[in-house]
Every structure is written in structure tokens, then in C-alpha cells.
Symmetry: C2
Subunit: 113 residues, 2 copies
């Protein structure tokens, strides 16, 4: 699973961590329902996660489209805006879990957060 975090909005370390937590659970739940075998494999192999960053909302949207076109599960996390952000701000997205080759095709050029 790759989790892509927006760096063009201001979020503290704890905020980022919570958003990545949301994306992790959402992505896990999605695949648990849609492809239970793949989900079990992902859990058993240590529920691998790579946290990456993007510097623009435009790139974020492109990554989202790319991942969808390859049939990868994509979950987009929006913040309720009770603390640091405006309501409904997109903060991060989970891509996968899925075949490493496909996930790499979409996110391989991004830098680690």
C-alpha cells in the first residue's frame, strides 16, 4: 500500500499521522471486502505501507486517475476541518494494496515523506 500525503497544505506531524491512519484503515477495509484473498496476504506479510509525498493538488489528482486506470483501489481522505484545515480538505490518499508492479508504476517517482 502506498499512502500519498499532500505537502502543499499545512499539517502538523500528528495531523499527518492521523490522516495516514484514516487512509490505512479505509484502504484495508476496501480490499478486505473486494478481494479477501489479497487482503489476507497483505495482512500476513506485515501490511506493508510506504508513505510518500506530493507537492501539488494537481499531481495528487493525476496520481488518483493513474491508479484508478490501472484498477488499483484508491481511497481519498478528507478532513472535517475542525482543527488545522478548512472543512473537506483532501489530505492524503491510499493506493492499493495491490501488485507492487502496478503500485510502483503510479507512485515509483514520488519521494518518501
Amino acid at each position: 500500500m502506498a499512502i500519498v500525503v499532500r505537502q502543499d497544505i499545512r499539517m502538523g506531524k500528528g495531523k499527518v499521522a492521523a490522516q495516514v491512519g484514516h487512509a490505512s484503515v479505509e484502504a484495508s477495509e476496501t480490499i478486505r471486502k473486494e478481494n479477501n484473498e489479497l487482503w489476507k496476504k497483505w495482512i500476513e506479510e506485515g501490511q506493508c505501507k510506504v508513505v510518500l509525498k506530493t507537492n501539488s493538488e494537481e499531481e495528487f489528482r493525476e496520481l488518483q486517475l493513474k491508479a484508478k486506470r490501472r484498477g488499483l483501489p484508491v481511497v481519498v481522505i478528507r478532513d472535517r476541518g475542525l482543527t488545522q484545515l478548512d472543512p473537506d480538505t483532501v489530505t492524503c490518499m491510499g493506493i492499493g494494496p495491490g501488485p507492487s508492479k502496478l503500485v510502483d508504476e503510479v507512485t515509483g517517482h514520488l519521494r518518501l515523506l
Copy 2:
């Protein structure tokens, strides 16, 4: 759900986020299996997460015991130590989801990460 992150070890922002992601999925899975009604409620209400910090391993262990004594689910995350940390380093723990009163009794004095 409260996620308590150790601040006495050095972890980058992305590392912390990934560890919190692990704790989120582990804690969610634990409660999904043990108390499906509570899990559904937690998911439907937006899978609330608060990310907190502790400055010592000793306090971390005390919190773990306190939470267990109150019957709250506790998941402790260890890092495989492939990058920034020694193998098997405890990085964070998930407490709950559970009744806010109980979670607050254990973690209410901690500061946000």
C-alpha cells in the same frame, strides 16, 4: 481510538505516519473481530483517532498496563528495523476504540503529537 507515539526514539515524519497507520489497522481489526457492533459504530462515526505522544518507554509501558486493566484493546507496534530503527523497536500503540471515558482515563493527560 488513541494512538500513543514514542518520542524518545528518532523517527522521521513519514516513519511516524506509517507506524500510526499500522496501529490503526491493527486496532481496527482487533475490535472488528472482538466487538463487531462497537467496530461498526466507530467506523460509521468517522473512525475517530487522536495521536498523542509520550517521552519515555517507562510511561509507554505504564499506559499499556493501565489500558489493559480497564479492558481496553491495546495493540503494540514494533518496527522491523530495516531503515531508521533497531529491529523490534516498539514505536507506538493503539488504545481502543472503546468508551471515551475509559480511553480518557488512560490517555487524557498526554499531549497531542
